[in-house]
Amino acid sequence: MIKFTHVTKSYKSNIGLDDVCITINKGDFVFLVGPSGAGKSTFIKLILKEIDAEKGTIRVNEREVTKLSNRQISDHRRNIGIVFQDFRLLPNKTVFENVAFAMEITHQSKRAIRRQVPQVLSLMGISSKSDKYPDELSAGEQQRVAIARAIINKPTVLIADEPTGNLDPDTAWEIMRLLDMINQRGTTILMVTHAKDIVDKMKKRVVAIDKGQIVRDDYGTYGYTDTCIRSPEDKAIFNKAEGLAREDD
């Protein structure tokens, strides 16, 4: 579970997040949308504690992120899988080693690594690429490796920062199916995206951020010019209203 309570973060020249409150429950699949510079990256960086919030509290899996020590940060990040638009694989390691690396840092045994890495690679459909280096793979394959690395330690949360941004539509859909499958297995997924067609088709929870504020939080389609929802109370009212509206339909 991820819970932001009145979180504010500003930069020298502009605002990152302004008094944001949001709860993402365990098992949710959330699309984070919004124009560039709206605060999406700030949102993710705060979860990973790459940056610190000025005000407010951030809880991830009952852990108060804002109060983590340096040593605890690495521990915290091991419980969060992360996938980037540009894959960020280690260029000097093979596919197997890239995925195994995430297990090595948690000091898991060689036996466990030899057993689990092939399983995950097979789940991602890239078993045959095990000995290849990242530059020998297609973009889609690289993203599968990145996802394999992100989920190998069975994180409770998977953050995907525009994971389909560099992919052609067909490959993008393959990646979305994999993410959906991971979500079905109980992992919370927070995906930043600009891909309208994907959001529209997936029919998941959509959280829109603009100018550092959450401007929309509901289920359905892409868009970020909707009702302004700020406090949990407002949101409850909004959800209730929406529920009534659906009943009317």
Partner: protein, 297 residues
Amino acid sequence: MINRLGYTLKQAFRQIYRNRAMSLASIFAITAMLLILGLFFILIINVNMAAESVKSDYNTIEIWLLDKTGTDDIETMVDGIKEWNDVTTVEFRSKEDALTILKERWGESGYLLDGLQKNPLPNSIIVTVADIEKSAAVAVKAESLEGIEGVKYYKDTVDKLIRITNGMQLAAIVIMVFLVIVSVVVVANTIKLTVFARSDEITIMKYVGATNWFIRGPFLAEGIMIGMISALVSVGLVGFIYSKVHATIGTELVTILSAPLVPIGFMVTNLFWIFIALGISIGSWGSIVSMRKFLDT
């Protein structure tokens, strides 16, 4: 723990191999610096040795005696001087011996002295001092003795020698310190380049949840290995160059300066340990310092 060490070393070997070009660049930089340092070190040691040996040629004081001073008085005088501080040997030299020595020194022109009707040289007492810097004090003391004609020592030469050797030692220290600083800066920058080339890698490791020491370990081991390789290469090179120099001008130097070169074996063994220590510290320090920036977040 052993597992961790194994992992770190394995990663370090891999990194060196897979980043061959950068590893080579670092090895070249450290080797070049150690080579310059080593050759300079050898030069300084040899110059110092030569200076010391030249100094030892000038550590004597001649006390010229009056002809009327009798043998008994001379013996008492010799025994007395032996008790002084800073005196190593005291020896009586008769005027005849002095003339023979002078003839020898003049070499082929020595026959000129055969024409002398009377030996003009005095009897003398030759005093050697332990430390050339003490000769002035001993000379002053000798001047107060009875029955002497005068005291001769190489005052100007001694003063000059002391000034020159002290100056040389100071210059050597300054240049060595300067060279060490330059080499550390160059090496730190080279390592910084290799770390910078892999800053993405470090960022990814941080994202996946690696601790700082987990990331640093392989880099540190890599730095140490590169330092050690460079140390071995440069000791080999310095030893090779020195042995060539030794073979070419070693004997000539003995005749010119009457000072032999420092033996190769002695030099190389000492340099080996100094370089290993320097190489390891430069390598490890360089990698830790240059990684600091990337490990902040």
